[in-house]
């Protein structure tokens, strides 16, 4: 365990560590003071690391009795004013589904890390996968939007976990970090830097006697959040509710609430969505990839360009809300073809197919557990163009 290294690291030297440990350190850097979790391969090291690390900074680690309990504990902690996180993998996220919906409904800032493995069911616990791209988006029932980030490197396990906390606090919502079995387990050099802004949730904007838990004063549609146990009284429920937090069963009441919950995320797309792009300006064909599977793409593209092909790539760092603006931009730049490369049988590609009026879409979509090599991507790209 890289614990001693991380403690003594002066934050300006790279250390060698795993994605799971980097994720845990990112959470701590972002101000996480509670971790509630349940063992599941390949995410268990995050819990194990937190069980050592959090007590050192007066934080709380709780091993729960299952995943329902883990996320419910985080929602409780979030409402009592702490930054909270849980980590799991596919089957565990399935068990968290109802509480993800509650987190959205109660607008509880919290971070859920999922280290994707092969599925469905037990699947391939010790391998990587990108087959939970829909699960992270649609796990809960109901009409909702959620933020999902997708790291590609161990460094991003640190950086994007920090970002996940910041987005959760800023938009008062659960944020999911969708990593995978390889990224969680593999080691790379990481800078545990501290040059980032730490976002704290919006406080109530009125005195206690005037406080209504879901009253919105700002254009961002985010209400100020009181801390349980202070002078601010609140009553919040998973039932459709009005700004007072009390159940509201009229059609109009439901419409108002659901629209606000969705709009606060979709309107913020330009702020939330993040990606890395190269050679877009002069490309006919662009490869879109994300997560661990994006790592072979740059080399394949360089090879293709050396052969005279006008190709570029986009690597998504956030998956949801889907970056429609990026698709429109690619359309404006005049690309003729988008190749989506993902380790599943075709998931995110369906989102890009909404833009087929702008460019042709094809995919390298294989439900495998091994990320595509540059050689393989190059071969497939050549078949496509």
């Amino acid at each position: 365990m890289s614990l001693k290294l991380s403690k003594n690291n002066p934050h300006n030297k790279a250390i060698l560590t795993t994605g799971n440990y980097a994720c845990a350190e990112g959470a701590i850097a972002a101000g996480c003071l509670l971790f509630a979790g349940y063992p599941i391969t390949p995410s268990s090291e995050i819990a194990a690391y937190m069980s050592r690390r959090l007590p050192e900074i007066n934080g709380t680690f709780i091993q729960m009795e299952d995943e329902l309990a883990s996320i419910a504990c985080c929602i409780g902690a979030s409402y009592a004013g702490k930054k909270a996180m849980t980590a799991t993998s596919g089957p565990g996220l399935s068990l968290m589904a109802e509480n993800i919906g509650l987190g959205v409904m109660l607008e509880a800032p919290l971070v859920i890390v999922t280290i994707m493995r092969g599925g469905p069911s037990t699947g391939q616990p010790t391998n990587a996968s990108q087959s939970d791209v829909y699960q992270v988006r649609y796990a809960s029932h109901g009409d909702y939007q959620i933020i999902v980030l997708a790291p590609s490197t161990v460094q991003e396990m640190y950086d994007l976990t920090i970002r996940a906390f910041n987005l959760a606090e800023k938009y008062r919502t659960p944020v999911i970090v969708a990593s995978d079995g390889f990224l969680g387990q593999m080691m790379e050099p990481v800078y545990y830097h501290s040059n980032f802004e730490k976002v704290e949730r919006k406080k109530p904007q009125v005195p206690p006697e005037k406080y209504k838990p879901f009253e919105v004063f700002d254009d961002d549609l985010v209400p100020g959040m009181a801390v349980a146990g202070t002078d601010y009284h609140f009553y919040v429920t998973g039932l459709t509710h009005d700004i007072e937090g009390t159940p509201e069963m009229t059609p109009e009441g439901g419409e108002t609430l659901i629209k606000r919950l969705c709009d606060k995320i979709t309107r913020a797309r330009p702020d939330i969505n993040d990606w890395e792009e190269k050679y877009i300006d002069d490309s006919d064909t662009v490869v879109l990839a994300y997560g661990i599977n994006a790592r072979g793409v740059p080399e394949a593209i360089e090879q293709a360009r050396q052969q005279g092909h006008k190709m570029g790539y986009v690597r998504l760092k956030s998956l949801w809300p889907f970056p429609d603006e990026l698709m429109e931009k690619l359309g404006r730049q005049g690309i003729s073809k988008l190749i989506v490369s993902e380790m599943n049988y075709g998931m995110l590609i369906r989102e890009t197919q909404r833009f087929q009026h702008l460019f042709e879409v094809s995919g390298i979509t294989i439900p495998t557990t091994i990320p595509f090599s540059p050689k393989f991507i190059y071969k497939k790209m050549m078949e496509e163009i």
């Binding site: 063992p39 268990s44 819990a47 069980s51 009795e65 299952d66 995943e67 089957p91 037990t122």
Partner: protein, 311 residues
């Protein structure tokens, strides 16, 4: 071993010669060297016989069952999500009952301590409350060994695990007691180091109707931190120190099992420190915790004594 077997024969327990020769697990399982669970599973299946359907959640047992075209279990096995072993068994039983096969075919849920005491307790409790006609066997290696030794509700006080770096601060959950409170027909404890006692209990449970629960202590070399060759010795120490008494409760009647009978006399029990010091997971245990163990064992046996006197 021979000496102990002959002693058990004297005490009218099942004789080693009576154990069926048929094997229901193939050799070459994927278990760690010295795993008590493979022994437990082998003897339990021998007692249960071929007309058995197993339902198994995520656990070391799913590892034992093999992979890549190789299955070590000869009986039919249904794998079920971690939280739903009891519910899965309920479905199998209901179907067998409808076909009139429930008396002939025994449904057995085989789960680890995490799948029983933590995530699976709700489904188990539901099945037990409904009086579902099945056997639930919990092999208890006292942590989530399959995922890398994280604490479970069954991890004992003071034990180091990946998620209790300073040793667990709470005692082990008394699962047999919880199941007894459901008023089910049979509750028993067993220990991988006493295969004849274990065999006898599974054999007996097979012929009883209703929900039957057997909780088996299963020593784990990598998780507990001892040499694989010492598995039987460690399991015996759990019995000899009085930490894990072997008993059975048939329709409310409590009886101590042969290997544990003599420990009603406190003088015959070994000190718990012998058990704790033999395992690396207790290497940082405090004196206070050891005293807590002594008190726990004393109270546990006083309770057993009272029960025997009062029934």
């Amino acid at each position: 071993m021979n000496r102990n077997f002959s002693r058990e024969v004297e005490n009218n327990m099942v004789n080693v010669l009576e154990i069926v020769e048929d094997e229901y697990i193939h050799p070459g399982t994927r278990m760690c060297a010295g795993c008590a669970m493979s022994l437990i599973y082998r003897f339990a299946l021998k007692a249960l016989g071929p007309k058995t359907i197993l339902t198994v959640p995520a656990s070391c047992l799913t590892v034992l069952h093999g992979m890549q075209g190789f299955c070590t279990t000869k009986l039919s096995v249904l794998h079920t999500p971690f939280a739903t072993t009891g519910a899965s068994a309920s479905g199998i039983v209901a179907s067998l009952e409808e076909k009139g096969l429930a008396d002939e075919i025994c449904v057995v849920a085989f789960a680890g301590d995490g799948g029983t005491t933590d995530i699976g307790i709700q489904a188990l409790s539901g099945a037990a409350e409904r009086g579902t006609n099945f056997i639930y066997a919990c092999y208890d290696n006292e942590a989530y060994m399959n995922t890398g030794v994280q604490r479970s509700g069954s991890t004992p006080l003071g034990a180091f695990t990946a998620t209790t770096p300073g040793g667990k601060t709470r005692p082990k959950k008394n699962m047999p007691k919880i199941l007894e409170a459901h008023g089910i027909s049979y509750v028993a404890t067993a220990n991988g180091s006493y295969p004849l006692d274990l065999y006898e209990k599974f054999k007996k449970a097979r012929d009883i109707k209703g929900t039957r629960y057997i909780h088996i202590l299963s020593a784990c070399p990598p998780g507990w931190g001892y040499d694989p060759k010492d598995t039987i010795r460690i399991g015996r120490l759990a019995n000899d120190t009085g930490f894990w008494p072997l008993y059975e409760i048939s329709n409310g009647k409590f009886a101590l099992s042969q290997p544990s009978k003599k420990f009603l006399d406190p003088a015959k029990r070994k000190d718990i420190e012998q058990y704790l010091s033999a395992q690396k997971r207790f290497s940082n245990i405090s004196k206070q915790d050891i005293e807590t163990y002594r008190n726990y064992i004393r109270d546990q046996w006083n309770e057993i004594k009272r029960r025997l006197e009062n029934q």
